[in-house]
Symmetry: C2
C-alpha cells in the first residue's frame, strides 16, 4: 500500500509483537525494528541460564512469527534515536525510517544503580546472550572446582550469589540449587556438589515483595528446603573479581548474577520526554506521549500512573495489553475518531520456586506448591510461540522431570565477550 | 583404586568416549581430559550451522555420558603437551597428569593449506562454536540483504560459497539451498531469497570423491536440482573480506565456509613422533607409537598404514573401533599378554544431499534418494547419545520435515569472537 499511513514499531518483545499482530491486515504500512532477529520468551530465560532448556526452545525468529502479515515488514537494526519532532527513527548504522505513527516498546535492561562497573562481574538476565553467559559461568565454576586443590579456592568456586529476590532471582536460585544437589551430583569425583552454597540476597524486607505474605512465606520455605540461603534486608555494597560484600560481610564467590534492578531502555531518553526514576516515559492515559498523539510508548519503557497507586508492573501482560491498545488507538486516529484511556486487566502473577513447586496469585485465588507449578507450566507452554517450541519444551520438561538430567549443560562461547 | 594403573585419555570425541567406556569397570584408574565439557555428535554439526537443530540436540556433557563408571574421572582442561618420555600430560594452565598408559584421541581441526589468514573470512565446522558462528553469519547475511538498497551489494550478501565437496560441504550446501528456497521465502519483503546463489567449490575432479561414481552423480544432480552451483576442478586461490577468487575469477560473496581440509590436532606434534603430511602420527599395527608401547593414538590424529592401500578415513567408526582396540590392548598388557594388530571393519559411508535425499555406500549395497535418507536419519538418531537428544531430535526433524520451518534461526553472539 504505497499511500497507507506508515507505522513503525520499535522492539520485538511481547509489546512489539502484539502491536504488529493487531495491525496485521489493517490498512497501514507497518515496519517492526529490533536489533535482534528473534523474540525471546523472557519468563523462561532462567531455564536457559540453568541449562534446562535450549535457546531455540524459548525463542523464535520475529520474521517467522509475523510472516503471514503481508503489510508488516521486519528489519534487524539498532535504533539510535526516536526523533519525535522529525517523525523519524534514526538507525545506528546511519539509515533512517520516517513514520506517521510510532509504537515504542524497547523494553528494559539491567540497572546497577550507579555501579555499572559491577556489570562484568555480575551479569544480568535479559537476553539469550545473557542467559548463555550465565550458563557458561555456572558450569565452568563446577569444572574448575573439580580441578582445584586449595580448600578456600574451591569453596569460592562453589559459592553462587544471586542479587535480587524478585521472580527471576527466586527462579534462578531454586533451579540452580536443584541442579547442584540432584542433577549433577554423581558426575564429579573430587567435589561434593550438594555442598554448593547458593545465596539469594535482597535489599528489601522480603523476597517476592510483590506477592501476598502467605505466598512469600511459602516461597522462602521452599527455597530453604532445597538449600538456598535467603538473605533479606541486606544490601550489596561492593562486587569485585573475588566476591561480593553483603553489608559489612565479604563473601568470596566465583559466580554472581544480577537480578536486582531494571531500568527502561536508554532509547526512550532520546525522545526528550519527562521520565520517571527508572528512566521510563511518563505516558498519557491513552499511552501516547505529551504533545505527540502519534507516538505511543508501551511495556517496560512506559510509566503509566493513571491506574492504581503505583506504576503498572514490568510484566508481559502489561506490555501486550498496552500494545494492543496503542494499535487500536492508531486505527481510531486514522479513522478520525477520538482515543480512549488504557485500562489494564490483571490476570494474576506467578513465580516458580523449584522442581514441582510454585506460587501463584490470581487475586481471587492463591495457589502454592505443585498445583501452582502445574498451572505455571501449562500457562507458559501454552503461550510459547510456534509449534516446535511448544512440543519440544514439553518433551524436554517431561524428560527433565522424570530423569532430572540437564542435557543442555554445554559450555560454549569464549567467555571474552564481556 | 589407589594402586591401579593410571590411564589417561585425551579427547572426548567418538574415540575418547569409546575408550572410556571400554575401560569403565576395569581395574584401572581412568582420567579423560577434554578442553570442552561436552561431546559433539559431529555428523550433525551442519544441522546446527544451518539452523535446523539446537546445540543441545547434538551435544551432551561428557561427565553425564560417563557418570556411571566410578573408575572414570573427567577433567575439563587444555592439554598442551604429551610428554612421552616423562609419561605425563602437561596442561595449558600449568598442571600435569602422570600416566602409566595413554590413549591420545584429540581429533582434527581445519587446515587452510598454508593460508591461515583465510580463517577469519572462511570459518570451518568442527565445534559447536564454529556451527553457531556459521549460523550467525548466514542469517545475518539475509538480514543485511533485506536492508541493502545497492544492487551489487545485495547480490554479494546473497552469495554463499562453500569450499570443499566432501560430505560436510555437500550437506551444508544442500540444506542452505533448501532454507533459502523454501523455509524463509515468505518472510522477507525486499529480497527474493530463492535467488540466493549457493556455490559449492571443489579443487578435485568431483564432489564426494570417496564415494562410488554412480552415487557421486546422484549427489551432484540432487544438489543442482535444489539450486546449488557445483564447481569442480577449481581451486580457491584467494579469500578476502569481499569475496573469493576461484581460479582466475573473482566472486563477491559475503559468506564463505571452509569445508575443504583437515589436519590432525597440533597436540600430536608435541609427542616427537613421525607424522604424515596431514600431521597425523604414523602408528604401529596395534595403534601404539614407535618405542612407546604404553601410548596409543586413535581416530583422526592417527595415520594407520597397515590395512588397505591408503590411510583409514577420518570417520567416527574408525575412531570408535580404534579406541576400543587400544583399550583392550592396555588391559592385555596389564595382564602380561602380547598385543594384536588392529583390524578396521567398514560398515559403510553416507552423505545427506537435501531434504529427503541422501547417498549411502555399504559396499554390498548402494542406496540413493529417499531410502538412503531414511537410513541415514535412523542410523544417526540411533547413535545419538542420551534419551533427551534422541526424542528431541526426532520431534524436531519430524516438525521440520512437515512444516519446513527453521525455529532455531537465532542470531546470538557478538560476532567479535574471531
Amino acid at each position: 500500500m504505497p499511500n497507507a499511513p506508515r507505522v513503525v514499531i520499535v522492539g520485538g518483545g511481547f509489546g512489539g509483537l502484539s502491536a504488529a499482530r493487531a495491525l496485521g491486515g489493517e490498512p497501514v504500512d507497518v515496519t517492526l525494528v529490533d536489533r535482534r532477529n528473534h523474540h525471546v520468551f523472557q519468563p523462561l530465560l532462567y531455564q536457559v541460564a540453568t541449562a534446562t532448556l535450549s535457546p531455540g526452545d524459548i525463542a523464535s525468529p520475529i520474521r517467522w512469527i509475523l510472516r503471514r502479515y503481508r503489510n508488516v515488514r521486519v528489519l534487524m537494526a539498532d535504533v539510535a534515536k526516536v526523533d519525535v519532532a522529525g517523525r523519524t527513527l534514526d538507525l545506528a548504522d546511519g539509515g533512517s525510517l520516517p513514520y506517521d505513527y510510532a509504537i515504542v516498546a524497547p523494553g528494559a535492561s539491567h540497572a546497577y544503580f550507579g555501579h555499572d562497573e559491577w556489570a562484568p562481574m555480575a551479569p544480568g538476565l535479559k537476553s539469550l546472550d545473557d542467559a548463555l553467559e550465565i550458563r557458561r559461568r555456572m558450569l565452568t565454576a563446577f569444572e574448575r572446582a573439580e580441578r582445584e586443590e586449595d580448600h578456600d579456592a574451591r569453596d569460592r568456586l562453589l559459592t553462587f550469589v544471586i542479587v535480587g529476590g524478585g521472580p527471576t532471582g527466586v527462579e534462578l536460585a531454586g533451579t540452580l540449587a536443584e541442579m547442584a544437589r540432584r542433577t549433577i551430583r554423581e558426575e564429579f569425583r573430587n567435589i561434593v556438589t550438594s555442598r554448593t552454597r547458593i545465596v539469594l540476597v535482597d535489599a528489601g524486607p522480603t523476597v517476592l515483595a510483590a506477592f501476598p505474605e502467605p505466598l512469600r512465606d511459602v516461597a522462602r520455605t521452599s527455597l530453604q528446603r532445597v538449600g538456598v540461603e535467603v538473605v533479606e534486608r541486606t544490601q550489596v555494597t561492593a562486587i569485585d573479581a573475588g566476591g561480593v560484600r553483603l553489608g559489612d560481610h565479604y563473601l568470596p564467590a566465583a559466580t554472581i548474577v544480577w537480578a536486582a534492578g531494571v531500568a527502561a531502555s536508554p532509547l526512550v531518553a532520546t525522545m526528550g520526554m519527562p521520565l520517571d526514576r527508572a528512566g521510563r516515559v511518563i505516558v498519557e492515559p491513552d499511552l501516547s506521549i505529551p504533545g505527540h498523539p502519534e507516538v505511543f510508548v508501551v511495556g517496560d519503557a512506559a510509566a503509566y500512573l493513571h491506574q492504581g497507586d503505583r506504576p503498572l508492573p514490568g510484566v508481559a501482560q502489561v506490555a501486550m495489553q498496552g500494545a494492543s491498545h496503542a494499535a487500536a488507538m492508531i486505527l481510531r486516529r486514522i479513522a478520525g475518531q477520538p482515543t480512549a484511556p488504557f485500562r489494564y486487566r490483571n490476570y494474576g502473577s506467578m513465580a516458580i520456586v523449584g522442581r514441582g513447586s510454585a506460587v501463584a496469585d490470581f487475586g481471587w485465588l492463591r495457589l502454592t506448591g505443585f498445583a501452582a507449578w502445574v498451572g505455571w507450566l501449562f500457562l507458559h507452554i501454552a503461550q510459547l510461540i510456534g509449534f516446535r517450541n511448544r512440543a519440544s519444551v514439553f518433551v524436554q520438561w517431561a524428560a527433565a522431570y522424570m530423569t532430572r538430567q540437564r542435557s543442555v549443560r554445554l559450555i560454549t562461547g569464549s567467555g571474552t565477550r564481556r
